[in-house]
Every structure is written in C-alpha cells, then in structure tokens.
C-alpha cells in the first residue's frame, strides 16, 4: 500500500497544505523547526489516530484554531481508500471511505505505517516500557483483535488496581470481587500473551535474517519473551490463563501490599540476544543499533505477511544516525518495495546514489516550496 496524497488543515504549524506523494522515496527537506517531523507525525496520526510525540490531541491542533483535520487517500493493491480524521477539542472522528467509524479500532489498520525515529535505536537498551509499547503498537496495527483485547485488558487492569488499593485501605473487604477481576484480567491477558508469542516468533525469524546479513553472517539474533510463567505454561491460551490465575492466587498478599497488579502482559518484557549474549548488557553500541534496525526492518516483512501489503515507512532523521553500511542495508531493503518518507536537513548526508529518483519536498515554516 502507499499513501497517494494527504491534506492538512490547522495541523500543528500547517495552516492548509495539500500534497501528492510518490510511491517510492519521498524526502522532506528543510532546516530545523520548520515542520518536517510534523508532516511525518500527520501521516502517523492518519494511520493510528494518535500521535507518537504527544498524548494530548490538543497539541496537534494549530494554536489559532479549534479543530484540525487530516485527510489522505491510501492506494492498496486493487482499491483506494479515502481516510479522514477530524481532531476537535472534545474528541476525534474517524472516517473510512467517507463513513464515520463508531470505533477507532475499526479505523486503525486501514493505513499501516512503521515509524523509525532516533529514539527507536534505544529499543534494545531502553526500558521495558519502550519495548511493550513497541509490541502493542505494531501488533495492534496488524490485528484488530489484539487491539480489542488490549483495550479491554487496560480497562480491567485499572479497575483491579483501584480495587486492590481500596482493599488495602479497608474501604472494601470483599475478596470475591478481587477473584472475579483477576479472572477477567487473566482471560484477556492470556489472549494478549499468546498472540504476542506467536507474532514475536515470526518477527524473530525475519529479524534474525536481516541481522545475519548486516553482520555478514557473524551474528545470530534471537528474542526472549520475559514472563514469570514456566515455558510449558505458555503453550496455549488456556494454560496461560491458568498460570496467571495461579500467580494472582499465590501472590495475593504481595499485590495487596503493593496495591497494584504485579503479573500480566503489562509487566512482561522482551530481550534481545546476539550469539546467546544479552545485547542490552553485553552488546556494543553498534550491535544494539544493528539489532534495533533488524527488528524494524523485520517489521516491514511481518506486516506484509500479516496484512498482505507493505506498510508505509516513516524515517525521522534516522539516516544521519546510521553508518554507511547500515544506511546501505536500510535503503536496499526498502528500495522499490516500500513507500518511504524521510526527513533530513540536507541532501548531502543521504546516500544519494542509492536512492533512485526521489521526490523532494522543501519545507519552510509550515509551507511547501515547490
């Protein structure tokens, strides 16, 4: 799939802009603080109905306006789908093919994007939260069931945490309700963990291949999903469910003491190993970057497998962070397959000989200079 065109109204520093893109490499060129990343952000918002930079939609709306609008047309293999997202003070409305969608989960997934920003290089080294967020964002795009389970899980988690607090403060005393909430949480948690394991296995397969190539066959990349359950308990959703329930049962006192839910997908982590050594502790900076890049490139292939279409790739100032051989790898991997948007302050830093005929947009102060 690729994004054919996009229009912005009152989005960030863009008053009104209409642009047509190339199914290939699009370069967004401009000095600092002119709105390059805001354009990438707009594409991201069009795809996922939320920003990667801010959790408040208000920040996306131009300071002088009360509402913002992002419109775009996605070209898929046989059809084109117009998407529209209206961001207002009170909420957002999402339209697919001019029809308003009651649930955002029905909107998300129409346009698949993968964003690669400098902070993604810390995927390996950063906190577990970064990796969980990564897992949830990517898998949620591919699988609307995953997204649904996740949102239910989060609601119940909030209820359960609040209830643990109230039990501890003696405002409530009924342990049957805690059991019920544990049961519900374990059921949705099991679905999420099972789906994660399945998709991570596929992602690992692709990432290992990319990593092997970049390291010229010297390094073997593997994943490990870190979770308190025994390996044999992870075999099916039923056994995960039973396992989580048993944990909630055994560690009730501890959870009550800490007033929060200590087990479940919201506490799990993902670790990366190169030649059986944990990259985040034993890997060099270069290995960590290579691992992060491999995972990101693997996502492109996984998404193609899961959805039947290549996603749109957004590269926010990444090329300057990568050395020549990694740049070459990245660019050859995406060349002629994946529509790519990349931001840069100058064309000289980009390995131009590798980019065939890009479309260049000059950006200055929220406007396009042709």
């Amino acid at each position: 799939m690729y994004l054919r065109d996009m229009s912005l109204r009152h989005f960030r520093n863009y008053e009104s802009v209409d642009m047509t893109f190339k199914n290939g490499i699009n370069i967004l060129l401009g000095k600092n603080a002119q709105g390059k990343t805001s354009l990438l952000e707009a594409i991201y918002v069009l795809a996922l109905a939320r920003s990667h930079r801010t959790s408040s939609d208000r920040d996306l709306i131009n300071w002088d306006a009360t509402a913002a609008q992002v419109l775009g047309c996605v070209q898929k293999q046989s059809t084109s789908v117009p998407l529209e997202l209206d961001l207002g003070k009170t909420g957002k409305r999402a339209k697919v093919n001019h029809l308003e969608q009651a649930k955002l989960s029905q909107y998300i997934g129409q346009l698949n994007v993968i964003l690669f920003a400098p902070e993604d290089l810390s995927l390996v080294k950063g906190s577990p939260q970064v990796r969980r967020r990564f897992i949830d964002m990517e898998f949620g795009q591919m699988n609307s069931r995953y997204l649904y389970n996740l949102s239910q899980y989060r609601t119940i988690l909030k209820q359960r945490n609040r209830y643990l607090k109230e039990l501890r403060n003696h405002k409530q005393s009924d342990l049957v309700l805690l059991d019920v909430l544990s049961d519900q949480l374990a059921a949705f948690g099991a679905e999420i963990i099972f789906e994660r394991l399945k998709l991570l296995k596929e992602l690992e397969h692709w990432a290992a291949a990319v990593h092997k190539e970049i390291s010229q066959g010297k390094e073997r990349l593997t994943f490990k999903y870190v979770n308190p359950l025994e390996p044999e308990q992870l075999a099916s959703t039923d056994s995960i469910y039973e396992g989580l329930k048993a944990l909630f049962e055994q560690k009730r006192e501890k959870e009550l003491f800490q007033r929060t839910t200590l087990f479940g997908p919201h506490r799990d982590d993902l670790q990366f190993f190169v030649n059986d050594k944990n990259v985040s502790t034993f890997g060099s900076q270069g290995q960590q970057r290579t691992a992060a890049l491999s995972v990101k490139l693997a996502e492109i292939n996984l998404m193609k497998e899961e959805t039947g279409e290549y996603p749109v790739l957004l590269l926010d100032d990444v090329l300057s962070e990568l050395d020549d051989s990694r740049q070459t790898h990245l660019l050859t991997a995406i060349q002629d397959k994946v529509q790519t948007f990349l931001t840069t302050t100058s064309l000289s830093g980009v390995a131009r000989q590798l980019i065939h005929d890009p479309k260049v947009f000059h950006i200055e102060n929220g406007k396009l200079l042709e």
């Binding site: 649930k103 029905q106 609307s144 069931r145 649904y148 239910q152 609601t155 119940i156 909030k158 209820q159 359960r160 609040r162 209830y163 109230e166 405002k171 409530q172 009924d174 049957v176 309700l177 059991d179 019920v180 909430l181 049961d183 519900q184």
Partner: protein, 199 residues
C-alpha cells in the same frame, strides 16, 4: 439588561437536565412563557409527582407508585425466574419484548471500583436476601451490559448464587436480528461463532 428573575431561574433549572446547555435552556424557558397556563400547570404537577408519588419497590428496586411494584405483586408471572438488570430503564425495554414473564431485580449500577462502586454500593445484598427468602426462584438471568464492568458484575453474581444450587444464566452475545453479517464487527462475530446453536 438581565433576564427577570423568574425566567432566569427557569433557565437555570432547565440547565440541570442532562444534555441541555444555556442556549437550549433559554429557548425552552421562552417557549414555556408562551405555553397555555393549563399545560404549564400539568407540567409542573408531573414534575412534582415524580418525586412525591414514586418510591422504589422494596423487593426488586423498580420505581413504583405502590410498594411492592406491579410486577412483584402479579402472581400470574413466573415466580421461578429473576432477570437482573443494571437500571430501571432496562425493565421497560425487557417488558416491551413481551417474551419474558418472570420477575426482575434492579442493581442500580455495576461493579466498577474506578467509579467507587463496590459490591456494597449496588443492590446485590438485596438480591441474595431475596433468593434466600424466596425458595421458588430457580434461575437468575443476568442481563447486564456487555462491557467489562457488566461482565464482572455477572461473574460476581454467579460466584455468589451458584453455590446455593440456583441456575445462573447470562444473555447471549452475537449478531443483532435483521442485520447483515457483512456489517458486524469482528468481536461481535467472534462471540456469535463461540455462542452458536445447533439447528
């Protein structure tokens, strides 16, 4: 210029209703000014009487003029089934269906710790007491909404009631009648497949 006091007060009163802001309230207030005195009197009387003449049924929690309510008094209804709903409004919906002839129980909310609603804050204790006293009841049908909170409430009731040997059932999830499969969302479809019935 300010509005005269009676009109200002009326606008203020209308604004207390849900979904009504200052503009609508002003429009309604001026409309009231043009209404026949008789109609306005009737309106005022109905407002007063909702507070004065209505109480909640001591058995099921329904609103009623006379305690116990019409449904609880009606001995021709099936005394073995109790349908548990979240709100009084839901009873009216169920009654419109005309297919259920048992009794009701209104919870007046669902279990939601975030909103400060625990088991003691909704009418679960009165349901349990009712089941203890009334040995005729053999089935409790839980008709809470298909939200996480509605599900939690249903599961909670099941845990407490089942050990007493009373059957607990839950409304089915699935396709709405007369709709196209094409337009159903994936979760509804998946529930419909899970809850399929043999023909």
């Amino acid at each position: 210029m300010q509005y005269p006091e009676p009109i200002a007060k009326l606008i203020d009163s209308y604004m207390k209703l849900p979904g009504i802001g200052s503009k609508t309230a002003t429009r309604l207030a001026f409309y009231t000014l043009d209404m026949d005195e008789e109609d306005v009197n009737g309106f005022a009387k109905s407002l007063m009487s909702t507070k004065k003449d209505l109480t909640t049924c001591s058995i099921c929690g329904n609103i009623t003029e006379q305690d116990p309510c019409e449904i609880c008094r009606d001995k021709t209804r099936d005394q073995s089934q109790v349908l548990v709903v979240e709100q009084v409004k839901d009873i009216m919906v169920m009654e419109r269906m005309r297919d259920f002839h048992g009794l009701y129980h209104v919870l007046n909310g669902v279990l939601s710790p975030i909103e400060g609603k625990g088991p003691e804050d909704i009418n679960i204790a009165s349901l349990l007491k009712r089941l203890q006293v009334n040995k005729e009841i053999h089935e409790v049908i839980v008709a809470t909404n298909a939200t996480p909170e509605g599900e939690a409430t249903a599961m909670y009731i099941a845990r407490l009631v089942k050990p007493a040997g009373i059957k607990v059932t839950r409304l089915a999830h699935g396709l709405s009648v007369g709709s196209d499969i094409e337009y159903a969302d994936e979760m509804t479809l998946s529930k419909a497949v899970q809850g399929r019935t043999e023909i």
